[in-house]
Amino acid sequence: MARVAIQHEDFDLSNEIAELRRHDKRVGAVCSFVGTVRGREEGTHGPPVLSMELEHYPGMTEKAIEAMIDEALHRFDIFGVRIIHRVGLLAPGDQIVLVAVTSAHRGQSYQACEFLMDYLKTQAPFWKKERTPQGEQWVDARVSDDAAAARWGIPGGNG
């Protein structure tokens, strides 16, 4: 199974985890993260999000994420990683991203999962555009994502 998929289609968490664990009897822990489209930005005063469009940089996206996985395998005692990121037009509630990691014990897969998400948030070339009743707008990068990445010694660059 490829470690990385950039796709328009939705994904099924159970299938992905089953595939990741298959034939690997060393696995004692699976940690996964699924990100979804919020129907409203934090704080209930913002306008509702009608849809979200995800653009990416084909080629670089895959390369960047493969490098992140190599780094995670180097830093943590983990066995397998699967990352799926959707692109194109999504609706509130839709799944956007999956990061799943296997290890012998929970600690390493928990950490690697968080590391990979923090890395992806600041280094993978994806951009979100929201459509609200007021029109379309590109989503601003968050300084908090840089701070999260900095914990691992990853340069943010988003601020």
Binding site: G35, H56, Y57, M60, L120, A124, P125, W127, W138, R142
Partner: protein, 83 residues
Amino acid sequence: MKIAVRYFASIREAIGQGGETVETRAETLAALRDELIARGEPHAGALARGKSVRMAIDQVMSDEAAALREGAEVAFFPPVTGG
């Protein structure tokens, strides 16, 4: 030398195209950015100094001091917001 330049997201929209081939003598990313800014609008606004612009050479995130070479693929884009 010839450089393939690509633009993404808000920068692509501001410039009005996804990419172009640029003939340049710029030796670094910073020099290339300045050269594009010097063309005037829409490049000047899209790539303006003081704006948060991230760059890649041959699909690897790079800082402005990075050196260019013939045939390189350079990309300019805003801070990333995936995940």
